[in-house]
């Protein structure tokens, strides 16, 4: 019964819900039913708890912008992710799991390099990285896995440069990141990966204190750790957060975005034949909306009673706010299941909303704009090297995407 909800014995739908096998880019059909029939309703998650599930765009923005809900994963009632190292640790992964004013204090320490003008100044460097990666790919054998050849190395090289992490160490951080973002990873394994990454960042921060460079980690080491504003461990956790966030999301947007475009050749042609900044920027926003790769919902817990959508969320109740279905809300995006790079998709919530909205979004936009405007123009014959139904999608990933994307030209 793929079109209906799976109900537990107590009557609540189970979360997460499966996608339809035939529509790998669409959110689960059961989410669509909930959005129209019961937009604020309870679901049952892996640990037996029953948080609220929010599915409408309007409610999503209202709640994510509401100071009465908390991101503090250590509070009772917070809907935890299965397998996550965060499930049983008291130490939050930096400001992402904190509330204001502590969240704002820490976040503001790292906002400077993500300001629009500073990110724009990186455009030539990002263009060079993208061109070099494509040159290498074209010089090698085909078919080739686009994930290994472009999608992973490009964001990895960019975030390493920005943070001041030696790219030579990429085996260590790519491996541990992979373990951390896989939902099926056992909790001990995920905790070990988190520790390995934190230890690595801590060693790096120590060496930056001795020999600072012109990068974000040197800045944190000399301006925040040396002054006692942050402990070495807090700074390392912040570094882990930025390193993971900079990697996994953009890599998946490059590969999954290409996979979607190859299966929507009219849209790909529009993008390729008009490589102006406006068309590219609009295509990036639409692909962010349509794919919404952070597909496991944003987790929160209510601090006070909140009335929304005819329901009362009580203080202490958990919330899962499903951005993927909010981005398909027909009240905001007409014909929402159609990929249309000419629509104005700017109001999507793929980066979240409220004070926790993605800090790295200007960098993500820049990287995606450069990749999408370069790749299909330089390789107009780019094509899938397997049948579309053989692509392996990351159903079990904290971030949605493809495990590999064999392409040829």
């Amino acid at each position: 019964m793929p079109e209906t909800l799976t109900h537990s014995s107590e009557g609540q739908a189970e979360w997460p819900m499966p996608r339809a096998a035939t529509c790998p880019f669409d959110p689960p059909p059961a989410l669509k039913s909930l959005q129209s029939e019961a937009p604020v309703s309870r679901v049952r998650i892996w640990d037996g708890s029953t948080p609220w599930l929010i599915t409408r765009y309007e409610h999503t923005r209202a709640l994510l912008g509401d100071p009465r809900i908390s991101s503090d994963a250590t509070r009772p009632g917070f809907p935890r992710t299965a397998g996550s190292a965060q499930s049983d640790t008291r130490a939050p992964l930096s400001f992402i799991n904190m509330d204001d004013p502590e969240h704002a204090r820490l976040r503001r320490m790292v906002t400077a390099p993500f300001a629009i003008k500073r990110i724009e100044a990186l455009r030539p460097a990002v263009q060079r990285i993208v061109d070099d990666s494509i040159d290498t790919m074209l010089a090698g054998p085909k078919p080739v896995d686009l994930v290994e050849a472009l999608a992973l190395p490009i964001p990895s090289l960019v975030i390493c440069e920005l943070l001041g992490v030696p790219y030579e160490d990429h085996d260590l951080f790519q491996h541990n990141t992979k373990v951390l973002v896989k939902l099926s990873t056992a909790r001990e394994e995920s905790a070990a990966a988190l520790t390995a990454l934190t230890d690595y960042l801590e060693r790096l921060l120590t060496s930056k204190l001795e020999r600072p460079g012109n990068d974000l980690l040197s800045d944190i080491a000399t301006r925040r750790v040396a002054t006692g504003e942050l402990t070495q461990r807090e700074a390392a956790r912040m570094g882990v957060l930025l390193l993971i966030a900079g990697h996994e999301t953009t890599a998946n947007m490059i590969a999954l975005g290409t996979c979607a475009l190859l299966q929507n050749p009219d849209q790909l042609a529009l993008l390729r034949d008009a490589p102006d900044a406006k068309t590219t920027a609009s295509a990036v926003e639409e692909l962010l909306r349509y794919l919404n790769i952070t597909h496991n919902g944003r987790r929160r817990v209510a601090l006070e009673d909140i009335e929304i959508g005819g329901e009362t969320i009580r203080a202490g109740d958990g919330l899962i706010i499903a951005g993927d279905i909010a981005n398909r809300d027909p009240d905001v995006f007409p014909d929402p299941d159609r990929l249309d790079i000419t629509r104005n998709a700017r109001r999507h919530v793929a980066f979240g909303f409220g004070v926790h909205q993605c800090l790295g979004q200007p960098l993500a936009r820049l990287e995606l704009q450069v990749v999408y405007s370069t790749l299909y123009r330089r390789i107009p014959a780019l094509a899938l090297a397997i049948e579309p139904d053989q692509v392996r999608y990351k159903h079990d990933g904290a971030v949605y995407g493809v495990y590999e994307l064999p392409v040829t030209w």
């Binding site: 503001r108 906002t111 993500f114 300001a115 700017r346 109001r347 004070v355 800090l359 979004q361």
Partner: protein, 64 residues
């Protein structure tokens, strides 16, 4: 149209600067700075869009 910004609320997402660079800027820490509190009509659409996408509700508009 009159524009006000609430710097303590701003989370430095930069969206306003991207959409309406003549009206908004960012300081050294990425926090919004208002360049033009009474923008010319040709900027109004972009300013409205900035206020609509600002994740922190840090931009307030009064339409006159």
């Amino acid at each position: 149209m009159h524009v006000e910004v609430d710097q303590p609320k701003c989370v430095a997402s930069g969206q306003c600067v991207m959409l309406a660079p003549g009206v908004f800027d960012q300081d050294d820490d990425g926090i919004v700075e208002l360049l033009d509190a009474d923008p010319a009509p040709e900027h109004h659409d972009d300013v409205r869009e900035s206020a609509a996408v600002c994740p922190a509700a840090a931009i307030r508009l009064t339409e006159k």
